[in-house]
Structure formats: structure tokens, C-alpha cells
């Protein structure tokens, strides 16, 4: 059995960790928004330079880099790749929208 005092301390710790997660989630959303803003600017720059908006080779390189960074950080590269294909999709749609 867990003593009441220990339970309170564990609950307190859990609450603190959840707040930390919430802070990280906010930062992630802000960073994704920033990435999309940059994507839009790149879209405009490409059009100004007369280049096509879609660049599969560039996307493949971005995903490769994210996978390699994930491994260095001790994460599963496959999951990071999935996340980045999704992020790229968001940016790509934002670029095309303009």
C-alpha cells in the first residue's frame, strides 16, 4: 500500500510533469506555425525566381536529415520521418495556397 503522503507527492510530481508537457506542446505548435510561415515565404521566393513550388528531392533530403537527427537524439528515426512527412505536407499545402 502507498502511504497517503507518498501518494500526494507522486500526484504533485505528475501534475508538474503534465505542466512541462503542456509547455513543450505549446512550443511545438509555435514552431510548426513558424515553419509554415517560412514555407509560405519560400513559396513566394520560388515563384519570384520562376522555380516550381514542389521539390520532391528537397523534401526527401529534409526527411533524411530529420531521421538522422532523431537517431542522434536517441529516438526512433522511423517515427520522426513520419512526423516530418506530415510537417512537409502542411508546409507544402501552405506554399501552394499562396
Amino acid at each position: 500500500m502507498t502511504e497517503p503522503a507518498e501518494a500526494t507527492s507522486a500526484e504533485h510530481n505528475l501534475k508538474r510533469l503534465r505542466e512541462e508537457i503542456e509547455r513543450v506542446d505549446r512550443a511545438i505548435v509555435e514552431l510548426v506555425a513558424e515553419r509554415v510561415r517560412l514555407g509560405r515565404e519560400i513559396g513566394a521566393a520560388k515563384r519570384a525566381a520562376g522555380l516550381p513550388t514542389l521539390d520532391p528531392a528537397r523534401e526527401a533530403a529534409v526527411v533524411r536529415r530529420a531521421g538522422a537527427l532523431a537517431r542522434e537524439a536517441g529516438l526512433v528515426d522511423e517515427e520522426m520521418r513520419t512526423l516530418f512527412w506530415h510537417l512537409i505536407g502542411i508546409s507544402r499545402r501552405a506554399q501552394v495556397e499562396e
Binding site: 520532391p56 526527401a60 533530403a61 526527411v63 533524411r64 538522422a68 537517431r71 528515426d77 522511423e78
Partner: protein, 352 residues
């Protein structure tokens, strides 16, 4: 296209191969086995050159895949898929273990659900089934208890430790069902509901996909491909009988589909002998045939009082009949090289 590499390929070599493929707008899918790593390529292969890929460091062979399904194809996986269900104490489908999923057709109440769960667990079942949303042929038939049933399933899971599988019928229910269940079932009548398949592909829950009443093996695999294309690779296929000219049985169990599927796909294959025969007395012989043919598991309808069941009473086993089925199944499981979880004779007596 499938690229098979040396098992000791480095991450950098693998990254290089994938980037070469993805630079043409395709996606790659990795499957790591003990003896090899398989890189599956998905997308328009018109610009991919087999010869150019074959000379990349680490590549052993490059093979085109002519089948319409890719992610579900046996060739795309280095080894057959083993799908883990539920928490630590959960079940694994697709390995050596033969998993038996049992429970009532519909969740009718908390007591009957818990009574059934404890009895089937005691007999060696690894998962609990129970319908919350019921696809009924008649709009006037019992349609299920919905959200109330989902809560009961989650409560009984917490009390018995049995992972729960329940059907989702509508795209609007997917998240709600995923909040309560360990495995989401797509029923036979929804096997080609592509909106629903896409939606369940987005949630990170294993999917139990039942073969449609008039669907071919290829159509079943294309339905699985739909789910997998959305990023959910945990699909369990279920043969549940197909409609033929025979009227002595409710459906005709396609036993041959089991070895055919096992050869065509890396996904686990289970069998529903209850719906296939439509009669309680056919459940055991069909279950034996399924296990002998290589099924990875069974899903069986069980009811504490079948004559009072609001749905599918004719094909439901009583609790003692289910325990007897499990006993009789053991030699068949052993002959097929499978292990079947031992029953816990005292579990029924445990305090709730």
C-alpha cells in the same frame, strides 16, 4: 518495388537508398528482419531505375511488385507481423500464440458482460469482444447500447485485464471508440466503406478488419491497404464466412482463404466461426478447421444465456460450452505448432 538489403546495412547507407527513392516523390517503408532489411517503395515507379538502385551500397536485390496491394503484401515485410494488443498483460497476434477473442455479440448490461469476461478469461481467452454499435439488417432490430456499452467495456477491461475489441460503424465514432477500446473492428458490411477505413487508419489502434460477405481475398487486402496507407500498420484480418448458394449454414467458411492470406500478406489472420456457421453446434468444428489451416486466432460469440440474447443467440456458445471448446481446441493448437494460454480455473471465484 522492393529493395532487399544486407542485414548489416548501416543507417547512413539505408538513408541514402531511401533518399534516392523519395527524391522521385515516392515514399519508402522499412521492415527489419533478422536476416535482411526490406525497403518497400510506394508511389509512381515510372522514374525509378532498377539498375541504378541495384548498384547502391548495401543493396542485395531489387524486385518489382505487381500486386495492387503494397504495404499489406508479404514481400513488403521481412517477417510476418506480430501485433501487440492492450497493456503489458495484453495479447500478441501473429506470433506462436493462438489468441481466442470471446464475448457477447452485443453488450446488454454490465453484469452479463463481466460474468462473460471472467468466464472466458478463466477458460483461456486472451481478449474480450462486445458490440456497442450494431449493424443490423433491420432498422427495427436492437442497435446496441452505444456509448454506455463502451463505458462498460472499458470498466470490465480494467477489472479483468482483458483487452477489448468492439466495432466502429461510423467515421464520427472512431475517436470515441478509440478512447474506450484496444482494438477497433471494421465489420463485414463496412469492409469497403473507404471513408471509415481511412479514418481508422489515422488512429493509433490495431484494427480488426472483417472480410465482406461477398468480398474476394484481393478486395480484403485492398481494404487493409487503405488503412495502412494512412499510417496504421496494425491490421488484423478476419475470415468470417462468405455468401454462397448453400443455405444449410448462414455463410460458408472459406477455409482455403486462411493459407492463401498467410501467403499473400504478413498480417495476422483470424477466423470467426460463430458468424461463418451461424449455429452454436458448428462453432467447434469450424474453429478446429481454422486452427488446422493456420489461423492466428479466433473470435467467438459467447453469452451467459444465449436463449435470452438480444442478438445472435443461435450462434452464441454458453459459458460452459466455451470452456469445453477451449479444452477441445488444445490438441489442434498443439498440432498446428501454436500455444494456447492456459485457463485459470479459479479466476471466476476471484473477488470482483
Amino acid at each position: 518495388m522492393i529493395i532487399v538489403t544486407r542485414p548489416d546495412i548501416t543507417d547512413a547507407e539505408l538513408d541514402h537508398i531511401r533518399e534516392r527513392v523519395e527524391a522521385y516523390g515516392l515514399r519508402t517503408h522499412i521492415s527489419r528482419g533478422e536476416a535482411r532489411v526490406v525497403v518497400g517503395c510506394i508511389g509512381d515507379e515510372a522514374h525509378l531505375s532498377e539498375a541504378a538502385l541495384r548498384i547502391l551500397p548495401g543493396v542485395e536485390s531489387v524486385t518489382p511488385v505487381q500486386k495492387p496491394y503494397k504495404l499489406a503484401a508479404r514481400e513488403f515485410a521481412a517477417e510476418p507481423s506480430v501485433i501487440r494488443v492492450g497493456d503489458r498483460a495484453g495479447a500478441t497476434l501473429g506470433g506462436r500464440e493462438l489468441v481466442v477473442i470471446a464475448g457477447p455479440c452485443s453488450v446488454e448490461g454490465r453484469e452479463m458482460l463481466e460474468e462473460t469476461a471472467r468466464a472466458v478469461r478463466a477458460a483461456g481467452a486472451g481478449m474480450l469482444r462486445g458490440g456497442a454499435f450494431k449493424p443490423r439488417t433491420s432498422p427495427y432490430a436492437f442497435q446496441g447500447l452505444g456509448k454506455i456499452a463502451l463505458r462498460m467495456l472499458a470498466e470490465v477491461r480494467a477489472r479483468t485485464g482483458l483487452p477489448v475489441v468492439t466495432e466502429v460503424m461510423d467515421t464520427r465514432q472512431v475517436e470515441l471508440v478509440a478512447e474506450h477500446a484496444d482494438v477497433l473492428q471494421v465489420g463485414a458490411r463496412n469492409m469497403q466503406n473507404f471513408a471509415l477505413l481511412s479514418e481508422v487508419g489515422r488512429v493509433q489502434r490495431p484494427i480488426l478488419l472483417k472480410r465482406g460477405l461477398a468480398a474476394t481475398v484481393r478486395e480484403l487486402l485492398m481494404a487493409a491497404e487503405y488503412v495502412m496507407a494512412q499510417g496504421n500498420r496494425d491490421v488484423i484480418l478476419c475470415e468470417r464466412g462468405i455468401r454462397t448458394y448453400e443455405t444449410a449454414t448462414r455463410n460458408t467458411l472459406d477455409v482455403a482463404a486462411i493459407p492463401v492470406l498467410k501467403a499473400e500478406t504478413h498480417l495476422p489472420v483470424i477466423v470467426d466461426p460463430s458468424h461463418a456457421g451461424g449455429r452454436a453446434d458448428l462453432v467447434a468444428p469450424l474453429a478446429f478447421a481454422a486452427v488446422a489451416a493456420g489461423a492466428d486466432g479466433l473470435i467467438v460469440e459467447v453469452h451467459p444465456c444465449p436463449e435470452q440474447a438480444v442478438s445472435d443467440g443461435d450462434q452464441s456458445l454458453t459459458l460452459p460450452a466455451f470452456a469445453e471448446l477451449m479444452r477441445a481446441l488444445r490438441p489442434f493448437a498443439a498440432a498446428a505448432g501454436r500455444t494456447l494460454a492456459p485457463g485459470e480455473p479459479d479466476a471466476v471465484q476471484e473477488a470482483a
